[in-house]
Amino acid sequence: MNLERVEKLQAVLADIALDTDVSAFRQDPIAFAAARGLEPGDARALLRWQRRLLTYRALVRFALSDPLPDCFPITKALLGEAWENCVDAFLDARAIQSPYYRHIHPHFVEWLADTGWGNEQWPCLLSLAHFEYLELEVLRAPEDEVQPDLVHAPASGRGVRFSASARNLAYPWRVQEATEETPAPAEGTALLFCHRLPDGRYHQRELGGASSAFLTRLMDDAPMGEAAEAVELDWDEATAFLEELRSEGAILGYT
């Protein structure tokens, strides 16, 4: 049983579909097949079905790239004509590994982070793409499990249990101010806290340095009193802030 042959044929079709440059296949399918170790009969089949195999290229590339512009419209505007090159490089890298279609968006952001694609020309690119995906990530975050052991009054020695949708982020660019018309964000720190409201809507607020550092420490499981003291946040102010977050569903309770 020649399983290796079957797997090799699948890999060849993936190359036809995902490689940025398929001029070798377009020009000479037989040589293209030989370079990939296909048997002569399979090489002839590639020649016979060349046009239809390129239909698969169009279908795969559409399936994988179609969800991107809706999620990353400002990133697309920032890159302009280079957007297509960016998507080509993303597909070429075979970075989409998950069986879940919705993971194409985070795979795109991870790929930008891993490869640094475009970073030299657009240093804000990764921050902007990350921020654009953020809303979708928060909206789809897993539901919070009911935790009956949590208490609802803040106290110095207690920790905080955040919602699975809560994100405390620091960007070196004012990404939240970018628009499709003005896609390049200004340089400057953006400290953002985002989460899902109880009714399912996305909510985002910009924080000051002390509040952001306070939440960072709490998310690292520091007790409330210790975290407030470390960032020199007034205790009454700190607890009022936490209670506000709890009323919005960002905090589930206190441990």
């Binding site: 399983l3 699948q10 279908l59 590994q97 279609y101 789809r140 539901e143």
Partner: protein, 279 residues
């Protein structure tokens, strides 16, 4: 009908299901929270549900992650689906997922490999497993047999159920020039547990019908559907559920329900001679 994201809010608000069942892809629900997921679960826990997977790559070689399988099993148990189906295709290779239903080489090795993989998946699932015949646009490598024989062999060797997609047979018959009725003859209709019907589109540039699921079902497909239904009934002894697929250019729910009613009427008409048995 397929449970589509744009219809979730409207369907969730209904007091009861407007259709006999919803088909849902576990991949579109598993691991998600938020308003849309809550609406989906309201429907899935209220109405009859049939599960139809998209990305287990049944003829592929990439291993399934334990977490993915565990999530699928939990989903099938929670929805109480009578079975779970996947496509006779591959979607990923070398870890790279294409999210497209790609053609399997019509070879003996691919038959054995697919059948083994179906059995391995079936062993893990809490519900019977069906394979669906796909639309294909090119042979991948030199074929050792026809699609007809390939499908027959895989279903037999895997000993699984068949999700008969009548539109895919029609699309293939037009693209590859064969008689769809002759194709169906000799296939194991006794294995059919469910059917799919859908619309397709014409690609002028490639002179090819694409199984786009983006248009209403055309009359020739409905005629083929009505021709095959009595044969399936005679082979299985029952009226199998049929899904109207619509994945692209999704119209308002009311419009899709109108098409569903038209197909229901065609279904009832085709099975009228068996009315007593059905009752």
């Amino acid at each position: 009908m397929g449970l589509r994201r744009p219809h979730l809010e409207e369907v969730a608000r209904l007091a009861s299901s407007p259709v006999p069942f919803w088909e849902i892809a576990p991949e579109n629900v598993v691991g998600q929270g938020g308003a849309k997921a809550r609406q989906a679960w309201t429907i899935l826990e209220r109405d009859p549900v049939i599960s139809h997977g998209l990305s287990m790559s049944m003829s592929g070689f990439d291993p399934w992650a334990d977490e993915t399988l565990d999530d699928l099993v939990a989903f099938l148990k929670r929805t109480k689906t009578p079975w779970h189906s996947e496509h006779l295709c591959w979607t990923s290779v070398g870890g790279a997922n294409t999210h497209e239903l790609l053609p399997v080489p019509f070879t003996k090795a691919a038959v054995t490999h697919t059948a083994d993989r179906v059995k391995r998946l079936q062993d893990r699932l809490p519900a019977p497993f069906l394979l669906e015949n796909i639309s294909w646009y090119a042979e991948l490598g030199e074929a050792e047999m026809s699609e007809h024989d390939f499908l027959n062999e895989v279903l037999s060797r895997a000993d699984c159920g068949w999700l008969l997609d009548i539109n895919n047979i029609y699309v293939n018959s037009r693209n590859h020039g064969f008689d769809p009725k002759a194709f169906v003859e000799g296939l194991p209709l006794q294995r059919v547990a469910q059917m799919h019907i859908a619309g397709h589109s014409w690609d002028e540039e490639d002179q090819l019908i694409i199984d786009s699921h983006g248009a209403p079902v055309i009359d020739p497909v409905i005629e083929l559907f009505q021709w095959v239904l009595p044969k399936v009934f005679e082979a299985t002894g029952r009226a199998v559920p049929v899904l109207l697929e619509r994945d692209n250019h999704i119209p308002p729910l009311a419009e899709l329900l109108t098409e569903q009613k038209k197909l229901q009427a065609a279904y009832d008409e085709a099975l009228a001679p068996f009315a007593e048995t059905r009752a």
